[in-house]
Assembly symmetry: C2
């Protein structure tokens, strides 16, 4: 191909660019798709290098063209100065000399901790985050009608170029490089067998992977520990005769209160962690920058006055209520009918087997389940892709709002998929035996499949893939003609990048939380029916922590670090489940035929129901009271935050004073008199 | 009495004090009790005049001794300079030249709106508020063991002297003077008959009486308008045949949803009001000054480092859980048993009348109600004083926390007193006829009594009292020997003060809210039983607004203005009632025998209950959804608040930069280079 072989264009792009500074090492790798058109590549490179004032990212780029694969790979870095300016622009929080985290400011750099050595002032994860942010915010200008070389890929002003390249598969991958040395140390502390019962190195995780991921692991670990008491009681009930109504009720009530307490205490723990990481008060607000994928006409932010895309709210509401809600509702109905169909088929199969207990019919017994599993799998895949597309299309301005809408969509579907069948069995069929076996089947199979999918398979594949890559690497180095532009990347880094390029992409914490959410539902929604659920969940999570840790370090490409102040909408969804659990458990116990033996015999059926409704309301009231009585923030964090607020209040007054000083008028005399008195008294 | 006649001491107190400045007019009146001991009076005067640096209030004081009454009255004012400094100290919010409210700062006074004329820069209400605050924070020092002249009235360091004088009745009254001119204008707009259907002049009220009171009237007006739809439906149902089950259910559901909507929309309206008044973000925090009545060992605030009393939290918790909770619980139980006793007596009387329908026995029918009313009256009086004392004794640091704890105590008791009997009739006796008549009786009698007590009586008394005062005034002027120290107060002001001194004291918004709370409960808790309740409530409130307005202007002494960002705990209590109302109404309808006719006939009694429990849960879910969907703040207020937050963020960075500038080090060169680039890019 002429395009690939002619490197004049690429040379042109790098003309006049100062050579990459020695402090700038490649931190992020950008791989173009095989056969991506040269003009598009050249445009991206030029925008990456262009000065910020002209709408570029001003990064150091080294291009590597692999002629044998018709592929271009960019190694991207930035010198210290550039990265510090970028950190300032994106309001990165760093520790100030007074021990508190502040938004980093270049002008004030010497007052931040660790600024003695500016090269290592930002951690590697922070540097990569800055670079990614700078690349993300390269936006199309008024004259950029389409991507060069691709006439049909339209651009409109304000659209993030990188996102467009990614969504149209012109760029296949963008990933930060691992830090092998640190990773080894982190892995040793985190997932090695000898540390199996030690707490996770949460602060290291935050340091290496960012707050969002660290909070996931912190929550997973915390939740696992919180499962110990229910699991302990479950085991005792199992060993002794746990089939007593009374015991079940006690267990259920304990679980319900316990769920509330541990979710509340988690908030406290979470705020301690994020206070230490400086992200505790990182609330999304109207003056945050919009998501890179947010689009709209060019306008300006009503708060800061800075230019940004503007998309009217009514359009988003129209899309949400007009399209998303009906589509999601339809999908939920489909899932519901699939579930009904399953139970109908199962009943037919059961009857067939009852009539004629042949081997053939025994086999037929499992056909409905198999069909159900397959259909649900298909529906699930379709739904997830639809949900994702709808969510993109709703065009949320802030990442938090985007995430929360996606979480709700996924949760609704999984709720119908996984829990509605349980509700159906428990409250329509009212068959406790089926409920117990169905619940156990769902919980245990999902866990086993999860473990296999998440831990075993990647582990095996990883070994095989490492082999493959090695062979491929040797082959390609022999055959290929690799050409570098603007500097060269040493072989070690190239090999590392080659290896990491072949790793799986980490899709974010969404699926991991979803898994935890479902498990939480299985354990708490029907505690009284299956007390052993907590034991299974505990066993699963103990290994899950370590296998997830291993995956993060060895299976997935390194993700870009993301900040977070808390676990976001997941907190609310877990709390919601704990409220629904009160209703389900009370209903389950009320439906138990044994219950009449325990209550006074002169109570009518109606009164029994009323008693249980009253109990349900009382437990809900206790939950509210417990949630109210446990403050969301520990006292020391609250005081520290108040100190910061107080300082900022004083600073505001100080600034006003400064402004006033330059603006003297006729009141001069009066003021100076009063001022001196005020000072005298303030001391 | 030698003490009173010898004025040498008083003359001594005023020696060396500069004469009252012409700009300082008397704004606040402090009356000592008749026969209060001279040393105590002298000490108070000297502390009021002493400089702030020495622990005084530095106010202008003119003393008037009425020898015939053995009474001393102080007329207190402050010159403009003093009041501005005071406003600065107490973080009063004033409108800045950019249109936003800021904490007032003397050093920056010229940038606040209206600072051209400093004498009228603060409103009269603000000046009085400042003076009261300054008087309140005069605290006992280490050497002040007791009040001079009263060896037995001990003081301890940090205790507010004024509060001690008031609680020990050495000072009988402290009140700000009315502004007759403004009051006339305000009254004309507010309570005159021709403005009966016009909205209240809320902004004027805020200007004259402060935010807390203005919010009460705003809420009362808003709530009254919100009663129109339920009242309208109630009337229609009454005119046509409203006794249909179906209609009752529709009405109840409408009411429940409506209550949620209007309470949510109120929050929006409230935040608009308080945004305009500059108090919207006035959140209590750890760096607020403690209440004047807060006491403890001398320590310092953990946030600001300023000295303040410190009282350990465990002690407060000990008092709360160890004493308050049991005592309140006991009182509630007493009220409950009194209620049971009433029903027991009533039943006996009913039977007696049934057996022998004599005139005597007809009279006996009303004996239980009479006894009940008297006993409840006594119990209520005792409880209120106990609740108040307990609340003082719990020693809350912030006024908000003090108010909220008092509100909860009062509400609990009134709930038991007024609502439990209805619950008893509705769900234990299950007699809808008694419920309806009992509800109507409670609602209407309370309203009639309320109107008489609040509007008629004060009005009649006011006229009589004015006469009395006039006669007394003339008499006293003839007889008395009035002596002035440190200036003189003209007769007009003296007469005004004499008149206002005889007016009733306004006890705060607590009782008014409580009344509204009970009415809200009567209307919404049992809507399905008595749809006309809303009509009665509406009629009552329309007159209540105007009679309350009249009382504020003409019956009560002017209260000191208080700031508020919202209606505080009342919002939560109204919301709580609206949640309980869902339960009661669902239960009421489910209990209706007609309900079976409407539902499919094959539904068992148990299933009917389950259906209604389901309906209840669905309505609760809708309530939560509605509350979630209506944002608490209108968009424009949100954006304005974000702008303020953004500015303050920038100011903080600015201050850091200032600090950094004075602190250059070895990184000088690097920084200056980076700085210039950052500036270039930020533009």
């Amino acid at each position: 191909m002429a395009e690939i072989n002619g490197s004049a264009g690429l040379q042109e792009v790098f003309r006049g660019v100062p050579p990459t500074s020695p402090s700038s090492q490649p931190l992020v790798v950008m791989e173009f798709a095989v056969g991506a058109k040269r003009p598009a590549i050249e445009w991206m490179i030029s925008r990456l290098q262009m000065s910020r004032a002209k709408g570029g990212a001003e990064l150091d780029v080294t291009a590597m063209v692999m002629h044998h694969k018709q592929q271009t790979v960019l190694y991207i870095g930035g010198n210290t100065e550039r990265l510090l300016v970028g950190a300032d622009m994106m309001d990165l929080h760093k520790r100030y000399r007074d021990g508190y985290y502040r938004e980093f400011s270049v002008q004030d750099v010497e007052n931040f901790e660790g600024s003695d050595d500016l090269d290592s002032f930002l951690t590697m994860a922070e540097k990569q985050k800055v670079i990614y942010h700078e690349m993300e915010v390269i936006r199309a200008g008024d004259d950029d009608a389409h991507i060069p070389g691709y006439d049909k890929i339209k651009l409109y002003p304000g659209k993030s170029i990188l996102k467009k390249y990614l969504s149209r598969h012109i760029i296949s991958k963008v990933y930060p490089l691992h830090d092998e040395e640190q990773l080894k140390k982190l892995g040793a502390e985190w997932y090695q067998l000898k540390h199996f019962f030690k707490p996770q190195p949460i602060n290291w995780i935050q340091h290496y992977f960012g707050e969002k991921l660290a909070l996931y692991f912190a929550f997973l670990g915390y939740y696992t520990i919180a499962l110990i008491p229910p699991a302990f009681i479950g085991i005792i009930y199992f060993i002794t005769s746990w089939q007593s109504m009374y015991r079940e009720a006690v267990f259920a009530v304990f679980n319900l209160i316990w769920a509330t307490i541990f979710l509340e205490v988690w908030k406290r723990y979470c705020s301690e962690l994020t206070f230490r990481w400086g992200t505790v008060d990182m609330v999304s607000s109207r003056f945050d920058e919009p998501r890179a994928n947010y689009y709209g006409t060019v306008g300006k932010n009503p708060v800061t006055g800075k230019p940004e895309p503007v998309y009217p709210k009514y359009k988003r509401s129209l899309r949400f209520y007009g399209v998303t809600v009906p589509v999601v509702g339809f999908c939920l109905m489909v899932a519901f009918y699939v579930m009904l169909g399953y139970f109908y088929l199962q009943e037919m199969a059961d009857e067939l087997y009852k009539k004629d207990k042949s081997w053939l019919n025994f086999g037929v017994l499992y056909v409905p389940t198999a069909i159900y599993a397959i259909v649900i799998g298909i529906v699930n895949t379709i739904y997830r892709s639809v949900a994702k597309k709808l969510n993109d299309w709703e065009n949320h301005r802030l990442q938090v709002s985007y995430d929360n809408h996606l979480i709700v969509k996924l949760i609704l579907f999984d709720f119908v998929n996984c829990f509605i069948s349980l509700f159906y069995v428990a409250f329509y069929l009212q068959d406790m035996t089926i409920l117990r076996s169905h619940l156990a089947a769902l919980l245990i199979t999902q866990q086993v499949i999860g473990q296999v999918k998440e831990a075993m398979v990647p582990f095996v594949f990883l070994r095989r893939r490492k082999q493959q890559v090695k062979v491929m690497l040797e082959k390609s180095q022999a055959l290929s003609k690799v050409e570098f532009f603007n500097g060269e990347v040493n072989e070690e880094v190239r090999n590392q990048a080659n290896l990491e390029s072949e790793m799986d992409e980490y899709e974010g914490t969404m699926d991991d939380y979803l898994e935890m959410f479902l498990q939480f539902g299985y354990v708490f929604l029907f505690s009284s029916a299956f007390p052993l659920a907590a034991v299974w969940a505990l066993l699963n999570n103990v290994t899950e922590i370590r296998s997830d840790a291993f995956k993060m370090c060895r299976v997935f490409r390194r993700p870009f670090a993301e900040s977070a102040a808390n676990i976001g909408a997941w907190q609310a969804t877990f709390e919601l489940i704990s409220v629904i659990a009160v209703m389900t458990n009370c209903a389950l116990i009320a439906m138990n035929p044994e219950v009449k033996k325990l209550l006074p015999s002169d109570l009518s059926a109606v009164n029994i129901v009323i008693v249980f409704v009253a109990v349900e309301h009382i437990i809900l009231a206790i939950k509210v009271a417990v949630a109210y009585c446990i403050p969301d923030t520990p006292k020391w964090v609250e005081i520290e935050l108040a100190k910061i607020a107080y300082k900022s209040k004083q600073a505001l007054q100080h600034k006003r004073l400064e402004a006033a000083k330059t603006n003297h008028k006729k009141l001069q005399d009066m003021i100076s008199h009063v001022t001196s008195r005020a000072k005298e008294e303030k001391i």
